[in-house]
Amino acid sequence: MIGRPGSLPWLVHHDLRLSFLRMRAMFGRRGPLTIAAIVLVALAAIHLLVWPLAAWFVNARADAHSARYYYPLLACAALFVLPWLISQALMSSTRALYSRGDLDLLLASPVSARVVVAARALAVAIEAIASVGIFLFPIANMNALLGGAHWLAIYPAMLASGLIASAIGLTLTVLLFRLMGPRRTRFAAQIVATFIASAFVLGGQIVNVLPEHMRDSIMAAFDNPAPGGLFDPGGPLWLPVRAAMGDGGDLAIWCATAIVAFALVAIGLGPNFMASAVRSAGAAATSAPARSRRDRRFRAGVGVALRMKEWRLLARDPWLASQMLLQVIYTLPISVVIWRSQVGGGSPALAASPFIVVIASQISASLAWLAVSSEDAPEFIATAPVPRARVERGKIEAVFAPLALLLAGPLIGLALIAPVDAALTALIACAAAGSTALLNLWHPMPGKRAQLMRRHSQSKIVGLMEHMMSLCWAVVMVATVLRSPAAILPVFIVAAMLWFNRPRAPRAPAANVAFGAG
């Protein structure tokens, strides 16, 4: 037993146990020894992978050329980690409000709201730390092995960062709730978290994304920093970085700041958070107000019915929109990197076209999964007098319209600069979207809409195929813009993947056929 039942440690232990069970469920029915072996092998592999980086860090200060990049790299790491932690904390806080889980049970119990919120916030912090710690802690371990134990300070520094991120996430959630009300908060929080997380991606690519003259200016500022300024590693903004590198005084200040901030938020905002939770439950119990109260005529036809249904469900689920926006944002830096790489003379078509194609294939796959696999009423549709092929066709039609809307802007922009490349891009984007949509149609992975980003956990092979197809189409696009005959080869690879994945046996009448109950 960890602590007295109802105490903070007891509740934190309860939350972490649930997280552990969820994580264990990802391994399916494998036994504990197998899971331990998989985890150990994965950890060893990550440690080996980060070895060169650790060696570079340890030797950087001795080498004049490397020393120049030492602090910029640490700054990038901070830009990489802190937004990610805050984004995760914001997402987890809003999820705690709306998904609720056991929140109703806890709210109905005699446990203090402050203790419940503190426990939930601690669990949020630990989960956020774990999401990035899996990469950072091996770096700390290898650095400690090669360069001294002071690198292990990353552990307490990360814990403190997690507490601060959790405090910020909780505060933002309560603020959004007060400013926007229960209905809009979830969407707003998703969008805010998406943009914060995009800083994570852009932070990682910042060296490649920034124009050369800006990079030179930043490096010059690092070489000769103004005392106490933005680029001075001894300045106040660098405190978390110094703490992570093992400066005892700074680590103590960083940890103390984190504990105070966390305690203030948990004590000060605890009742507010719980009040928000109660209001969000009320909001869930009442339906959203209709935008238009005008009674309009019904539309006719199976295709129209299926398309309208899919579009309405998409338009009314802002979480899905934010997740797909995140996919677009994650892909954006790659495009900038290609553009800046000057391959093909820095052609805008070379930068934009693969980006458009990858977005087409990825978003099409997501939409197809939503339409086919996460159908809320598959059995109901199976009882309709409509052949399965017609239903599937209607759903695929529904997928392509929002995709076309999303890509119309970039394609029109490209057409103004390079019309031929724009036409080729549109053609290849259609093929890319069609291929991943077909893959999802032929291999449905039933799940709830909220599982969109975790859908590949059901079939890693389908997920791998999907990403390989995206990659192949991006290569096709690059080769086409460069007018290289090599474009043919990846087309054959995708065709072969589709051929091997084609449905071979007649399918069941319903998408999710379940056994009868009685």
Partner: protein, 258 residues
């Protein structure tokens, strides 16, 4: 032949099952079931948990392929002409299958589109059903905020919008309060008066006793009794016994051989 709702074909049985069989792995769910439902009849299918009621309805609705046997709905071979059979039937499961983000009118528009109901007819029928089921003032509210009873009523409206000749209901009164249950029962009786056929499964024997023209009792996937309440009483050997007595008598667990 495709039947239209205005041409019910009173001479043709609404439903005929012959030697219907379904197994799941080694377990026999439905074991050579023979059953007939007349046109315009309210038929209650009773049985203990796991007797095969839901499996039978799911096979009739085209959701589960039968291993063998025949399913005829108003003369249409439902196993071979499933689209034609689906056109004249509706299936209402115990858990309403709705889209949380759609409102009742949008849901009914979707269902009408799937069943190919003319837009004008569908709109008029949707209005009528929403009024009848006391959902009119909620017609623009998304289903996500509805209570279980309201969701069940929206699902029932969806099942009725194409005016099916055969309506299959699996535990339709589960989760409904007394007023909503009464409303649904009245609507179902009205449908049979209008010449439509209903086959209903329920664990609430009082519902079957009061509403059904005939009752079928299945046990271990086989029909063990079928007839009017009086016929069942007679078969069970007690003219004054209740349906509960009859049901318990016919579905009593068999003693294991010593």
């Amino acid at each position: 032949m495709i039947l239209s709702p205005t041409n019910p074909g009173a001479e043709t049985p609404a439903l005929e099952l012959r030697a219907l069989r379904k197994t799941f792995g080694g377990s026999v769910a439905v074991n050579g079931l023979d059953l007939g439902v007349r046109a315009g009849e309210f038929f209650a299918l009773l049985g203990p948990n796991g007797a095969g009621k839901t499996t039978t309805l799911r096979m009739i609705a085209g959701l589960l392929p039968a291993d063998s046997g025949e399913i005829s709905i108003f003369g249409v071979d439902a196993r071979r002409q499933s689209i034609d059979a689906k056109r004249i039937t509706a299936w209402l499961p115990d858990e309403p299958m709705l889209y949380d983000k759609l409102d009742p009118l949008e849901y009914l528009e979707f269902v009408a589109g799937l069943w190919g109901v003319e837009p004008e007819t569908a709109r008029a029928r949707a209005n009528e059903l929403l009024e009848m089921l006391e959902l009119w003032k909620h017609r623009h509210e998304r289903c996500e905020g509805f209570s279980r009873g309201m969701k069940q009523k929206v699902a029932l409206a969806g099942a009725l919008i194409h005016d099916p000749l055969l309506l299959m209901l699996d535990e339709p009164l589960t989760g409904l309060d007394a007023a909503a249950a009464r409303l649904v029962k009245d609507i179902l009786v009205e449908r049979t008066r209008a010449g439509r056929s209903i086959i209903l499964t329920t664990h609430i024997l009082e519902v079957a006793e009061r509403l059904a023209d005939r009752i079928g009792i299945i046990h271990h996937g086989r029909l063990v009794a079928m007839g009017t309440l009086d016929e069942l009483r007679a078969a069970a050997g007690g003219a004054h016994s209740t349906l509960e007595d009859v049901f318990l008598e016919l579905t009593r667990p068999t003693e294991k051989a010593a």
